[in-house]
């Protein structure tokens, strides 16, 4: 009798655990159902294309941020980095051509990320709070350099003489534009494919390689990882470099979306939104728990939320309130889940 009760309780717990574990997925399903009922336009092919097109800069930066948060750190230098990388890459278009400029931009991203990581390791900033303020200062520095390079003026793509087909097609183009066949697939935006490509690489890296798993150990318990023989300092530099690379991709996606890139606004709020996407997805801020797929859930929730709210014609300021409320609730629930476990 007792045994049966215990079993029943266990099963109930399992169901509850499942719901708690995939809370974001449930939220997404609920959101889709509610919006589909209230607003029939939601379930049209056009809107799906629209949603896929939204997997832009934020999804790339959030993927990079996942690794930093997994390692137990934080990076607030995203706005400055995006601004600097975008401005330098754009101004190099006329000098060395499009593809070399983009490669240079990615290398710059890795360099800036590695610089952040090395600086933190060198000064011994091994806690999140210290990393928070140092990277905040770095963001100011990068942003200022970007402003100095451009003189504070925005760069317009229309004045770039060198042909830039990739930039032009990256965010507005679809697969159909490249291969020319017409099927359902031809409406998938190119950024979405790029996103899936990086997602697959980073997922395999995180789950199947020793280095990838070391990140989780480092974030789970820094001291134990170090005593266990994991080169924690090198891991720190590595995660910041990965984030820098993904930020560079994000910067390219960001300036490909807009005809005019202004240094002070192109990167604004990306640090906040990336952290939010990662945390809402369920990657724990204390580090060590989570993966890139969860971040995809988080990004999807944010994109779907804004898509649904736009369709329902909710005031844009009210949308900000809802977004903040979702963030606070998600962190709160996430914390309760881990506190009970």
């Amino acid at each position: 009798m007792l045994k049966q009760e215990a079993l029943k309780k266990k099963r109930l717990n399992k169901v509850g655990d499942f719901f708690m574990e995939y809370l974001v997925l449930m939220a997404i399903v609920a959101l889709v159902i509610v919006t589909a009922i209230v607003e029939p336009r939601f379930l049209t092919a056009n809107n799906f294309r629209n949603i896929m097109g939204q997997f832009g800069p934020l999804s790339f930066t959030a993927l990079g941020m996942t690794f930093i948060i997994l390692g137990g750190f934080i990076d607030l230098s995203l706005p400055g980095m995006i601004s600097l990388i975008a401005m330098i890459t754009l101004s190099l278009f006329d000098v060395i051509g499009e593809v070399p400029a983009m490669i240079f931009g990615m290398a710059l991203g890795v360099f800036l990320g590695a610089f952040n990581g090395t600086l933190l390791v060198r000064v011994g900033a091994t806690t999140q709070a210290k990393a928070l303020f140092i990277t905040f200062g770095m963001s100011q520095i990068y942003g200022a350099i970007s402003q100095l390079i451009t003189g504070g003026h925005p760069i317009s793509r229309l004045f770039i003489e060198h042909p830039a087909p990739i930039t032009q097609n990256l965010s507005s183009g679809t697969i159909g534009d490249i291969f020319g066949f017409s099927s359902f697939l031809d409406s998938i935006p190119i950024t979405f494919i790029v996103f899936l490509f990086f997602l697959a690489i980073l997922f395999i890296f995180q789950k199947k390689t020793v280095l990838g798993r070391s990140i989780n150990y480092t974030g789970g318990n820094f001291l134990a990882a170090e005593l266990g023989g994991i080169p924690t300092k090198r891991i720190m530099v590595m995660i910041y470099s990965i984030c820098g690379f993904m930020v560079a991709i994000g910067a390219i996606a960001a300036f490909s979306r807009t005809p005019v890139a202004a240094p002070e606004i192109i990167g604004a709020n990306y640090e906040r939104d990336s952290i939010m996407a990662v945390v809402v997805g369920g990657t724990s801020l204390t580090g060590g728990r989570g993966n890139v797929l969860r971040t995809v859930l988080g990004v999807s929730l944010i994109i779907l939320l804004s898509n649904c709210m736009n369709l329902m014609q909710i005031n844009s300021h009210l949308q900000e309130v809802f977004r903040g409320a979702v963030l606070v609730t998600a962190i709160w629930l996430d914390h309760r889940r881990h506190a009970n476990a």
């Binding site: 600086l119 900033a125 100011q140 100095l148 204390t286 606070v328 914390h335």
Partner: protein, 330 residues
């Protein structure tokens, strides 16, 4: 001889390392001696204090949170929101005194909610206040419709723009709040409990301190101070707007740490935080004023940001490095 000079150098470095903020202020003032614009006047001092006063008031509140080993990144939005609430209420016919009171109470309520989530539910302070800041920013945008709001009421305008015994009133309010916060932290059991639980939460809990209530109260104080700063600021410029205050939370938290209130919790104080804010604002103010006739007409605005960022990174990095060295020495 060699060893002696080395240890002397190390000692000096150690002392200077502890008083980074004072060194920074001294360096800035020495640099200003070379400037053609003389800032060593009473008017400049008052102008500087008036600009810095809202941030100082916020910093006094944030000090409580930082001493309890937490931080509060929602203060910028609280500041915007309380200014907008005060002005909107006055415009809808509420007496100035009551409107200001309600605006300040709004900060208290937000601090209470922050405290509930962080202390009672034990969530991560920095991310929850970041989210709270985002939420409140939305509320502020929604309330003001993203437009600056202002009022015609002279009584509200005169809160910050009159003089009391020869000082600008906003500075007087700032000083009163500073002294109150200093006494609260220094001479009451609540203040000492804050230091205790910042130093070691578990030990404080086992020694019978009501840790939850103490830390919760610290967040309430932080929220209230931010709201007061919002009222003072919006009264000074007679505008409530949701656009300012984006960088305020990080700058204020940063300044508090620069002043010497450590993130590890348990050390620091109101005076140190005031010094930290003074460094930040002095740097800005002096860079704006700096010019050498015939040689340097002024400092480029972007160079100012660059120097600002370098100073933040340098001071916090020095702080971290000192802790690291201390650990290695032991």
């Amino acid at each position: 001889m060699d060893v002696a000079t080395l240890s002397f150098g190390r000692k000096t470095l150690k002392i200077l390392g502890k008083q980074k903020a004072i060194v920074a202020v001294a360096l800035i003032l020495i640099a200003m001696l070379f400037s053609s614009s003389n800032i060593f006047t009473r008017n400049h001092l008052f102008a500087f204090l008036v600009v810095a006063a809202p941030d100082l008031v916020i910093a006094f509140g944030v000090t409580f949170a930082v001493i309890c080993r937490a931080c509060d990144l929602s203060v910028g939005s609280v500041m915007c929101l309380s200014g907008i609430i005060a002005i909107q209420l006055i415009n809808s016919g509420v007496p100035v005194f009551i409107a200001v009171l309600i605006a300040i109470l709004s900060g208290t309520v937000i601090g209470f909610i922050n405290g509930f989530l962080i202390v009672q539910q034990k969530t991560e302070a920095f991310i929850i206040t970041l989210g709270m800041g985002m939420l409140l920013k939305g509320v502020a945008l929604f309330m003001s419709n993203a437009r600056p709001v202002s009022t015609q009421d002279p009584a509200f305008n005169s809160i910050s723009n009159s003089t009391i015994i020869g000082l600008p009133s906003i500075v007087v309010y700032m000083l009163i709040i500073g002294v109150l916060a200093y006494c609260l932290l220094r001479f009451t059991s609540f203040g000492r409990n804050c230091y205790a639980l910042g130093g070691d939460y578990e030990v404080a809990e086992h020694s019978g301190i009501n840790v939850v209530r103490t830390k919760w109260a610290a967040f309430v104080i932080t929220g209230t101070c931010a709201a007061i700063a919002g009222v003072l600021l919006s009264s000074r410029i007679n505008t409530g707007s949701a656009i300012y205050g984006d960088l305020t939370p990080l700058l204020v938290n940063c300044s508090v740490v620069i002043g010497g209130t450590s993130f590890a919790g348990g050390v620091g104080g109101i005076a140190q935080s005031g010094l930290g804010i003074a460094v930040m604002h002095m740097l800005r103010y002096c860079m704006r004023m700096f010019r050498i006739d015939g040689v340097l007409p002024g400092i480029n605005q972007h160079v100012q940001t660059l120097v600002f960022g370098i100073v933040i990174v340098a001071i916090i990095a020095m702080d971290c490095y000192a802790i690291k060295r201390k650990k290695e020495d032991v």
